[in-house]
Subunit: 466 residues, 2 copies
Amino acid sequence: MVSSPKVEKVLRLLQRELGEEKVVLDPVHRAVYERDATTIPVETKPPAGVIFPETKEEVRRIVEVLYEEDIPMIPRGGGSCLTGGSAGLRGDEVVVSFERMNRFRIDLENATVYAEPGVITYELQKAVEKHGLFYPPDPSSYKYSTVGGNVAENAGGPRCVKYGVTRDYVLGLEGVIKYGQTFKFGAPVMKDVAGYDFTKFLVGSEGTLGLITGAILRLIPLPKERRVLLAFFDDLETVGKAVTKIMTSGVFPSALEFMDRVCIKAVNDYKNLGLPEDKAGMLLIEVDGHPLSVREEVVEVASILERLGVETKTAKTKEEEDKLWAARRALGPAISKLGTGKVNEDIVVPRSRLAEYVPAVQKLAQKYGLLCAIFGHIGDGNLHVNFIFDASNPDELKKVERAVEELFKLTVEFGGSITGEHGVGITKKPFLKLQLGEVGLELVRGVKRLFDPKNLFNPGKLVDLT
Amino acid sequence: MVSSPKVEKVLRLLQRELGEEKVVLDPVHRAVYERDATTIPVETKPPAGVIFPETKEEVRRIVEVLYEEDIPMIPRGGGSCLTGGSAGLRGDEVVVSFERMNRFRIDLENATVYAEPGVITYELQKAVEKHGLFYPPDPSSYKYSTVGGNVAENAGGPRCVKYGVTRDYVLGLEGVIKYGQTFKFGAPVMKDVAGYDFTKFLVGSEGTLGLITGAILRLIPLPKERRVLLAFFDDLETVGKAVTKIMTSGVFPSALEFMDRVCIKAVNDYKNLGLPEDKAGMLLIEVDGHPLSVREEVVEVASILERLGVETKTAKTKEEEDKLWAARRALGPAISKLGTGKVNEDIVVPRSRLAEYVPAVQKLAQKYGLLCAIFGHIGDGNLHVNFIFDASNPDELKKVERAVEELFKLTVEFGGSITGEHGVGITKKPFLKLQLGEVGLELVRGVKRLFDPKNLFNPGKLVDLT
């Protein structure tokens, strides 16, 4: 059932204009678009309709009509958001799904690619690699999440320590804002300082300012070689020291991934890797670049670690390396097996504070009687704190909610951020003030009002206007 | 003479509060702060006063008082802006000069540096290099421009093709906006997606949104080796082909600098380098990284060029290399010697269009009877188009103004940007609409109003509110 006769009427008109198959009103089909990949319990409602535009002109027309008629819109890529960014909240929203806008065009001369929002990130990466080019952002969802979703959330991933996040690769954006006004910012060039930079600003705005219809992405030369090294630590202080030594040695690792004791065991159980389970933590260090330098730099990193008394293990073959990365990428499901419920928070702390922060989080989990698994992109200071719980027990869930709140306060006290990758969405909205303060939050509201005075673009996400 | 008794009264009060030597009212001293490095003729007026804060609390207090009293402020770093960004326009402005806020603190563990706005960029670079760390942005002014000025203008430089611009290195900003409200965005971490990204947005805002009191900058591992190669081209089509071949070969050059025929001759005359003057253009290509890979990559680049029939020359010694870079960096003064007047525009075009664009610009210069010298960061698509003229002849100046206007139109038609490095300031303000369109310009005005409803932060620069 569509929530109101008015919305239904507008959608029927759009259906006539755009074509039967582009506007979905069928309740069963609509229900598919109610939720995203968020595991934190959120109350959702199925949208009033789902529209599948195929061209940017269709998107413009959809926004023009819906904005005029006061109908809220939820832009949707792969639906892999972890903070409720593409979930239905009120029942009167229309989901604009970009899955049919999935074309891209590689521009070799400018080393850029023009991509529609529905392009799967991994497919784009595979295509550009054939030309010796590289699009680095690699969120865990990269095999099913989209360019549009990655832009909206400013997606990260393990390689960001060297290569930066999605924002660093977005050179231009086009899209639609209030009343169907279209914009086109940026160009396939590396430098542009003509006015405020709305291109970069729209990255990470979580669909709350308008709809993106296309992106110009920067590509860089594809490194020819990659090598992986594991290091096992008896204490967390040494992890911090090792990271500092590596980062000031002239070697620029393309990944610096941390796993705590719980994660090492979980991944052993899941993938049967035989990693030592008596250690406080493990680092997966990847070096990439020219084959000659990579070979030497792996030895350099190993000797830095050995001088710190750290046990290391180098992958001997490409297969062994792929297995290690597969294990790292399987950490999510591996940890999920530890309980029936899991909340994965993507906090950030300056890496200098890790040795204090991790034990503080472990103590916090103990206080609530929760199992806690910590892993993440330690080079960026971005850690995934996972609380495992019994999903069938409502009391456990309440405990998790309180633990998360305390975790965020702790993170801000440590000079970090409540989110490094997943965005604010619905689930972190109550904590945004903690991060930005009243002055910052008022600026967020001001920009939201400027782009979207009627609060129709992904309302209830990131910030409330009331 | 201070422009109004009211401004003088407020400044005298601030002088009593902050200390005699921190508030300058003396007309001769004030006159020093009237202009910046802009060569395009702009009508300027000396400011009503100059304040030299020494702490961020003093900056907060200054903004609080001046904002309340409706007195406009011009933030100033090294005064090296080329578009009038730190010039006095109305005579009632107060310059806030950050030259005494020039402390910085390196954080090795996080590979970041906290810098006050008055720090000279080059001094910071030298200091971090001692720890094996690297702060890449290198505008030509880097030996006398400041971190605050570089942040305000989103400064670039030759290394940006590989390393990105200033914005890519700013992880956090603190400062003061309307009515003395203070903000602190970001942290010494690589990832932060909590709300809209005001940190990156403030970079390049040209002092029009508030005053910056401190920046957290990202540092990366310092490459151990650099090598330079020159390539001489008979035609511009081959330049474009060479750049594409190099960028898709797996080699990532740390600089790709172009000079046209006029520049080659100018630099020969200025530095006596013996470069061939019969060529259509020259590329300076730098490769950096591990010594082993650099050695091989220089050979790789040379062989790519030779396969295209291009003559190459490799610097044999460190001295020869330094000499080549010194020549590149001396291009500005070398070109200035060609006439009594010079206007240097920093346009950007997709590099795929260079072979059409350069002749179009040369034709445009011919039409106005102007000598034109083109050089720049071709890897970024960022070219410096210099019109040389007789400064004593008012007719010549008018011709230059018309030529510049036509140049900007041409650039936008070519899908580029009217400014890649110098910013909008006063001189490019009339052309911003050409770049952003009415929708974009209205968003610029909206954000300006949000941060600065009284239009007191660097008024008359970047955009007008009326």
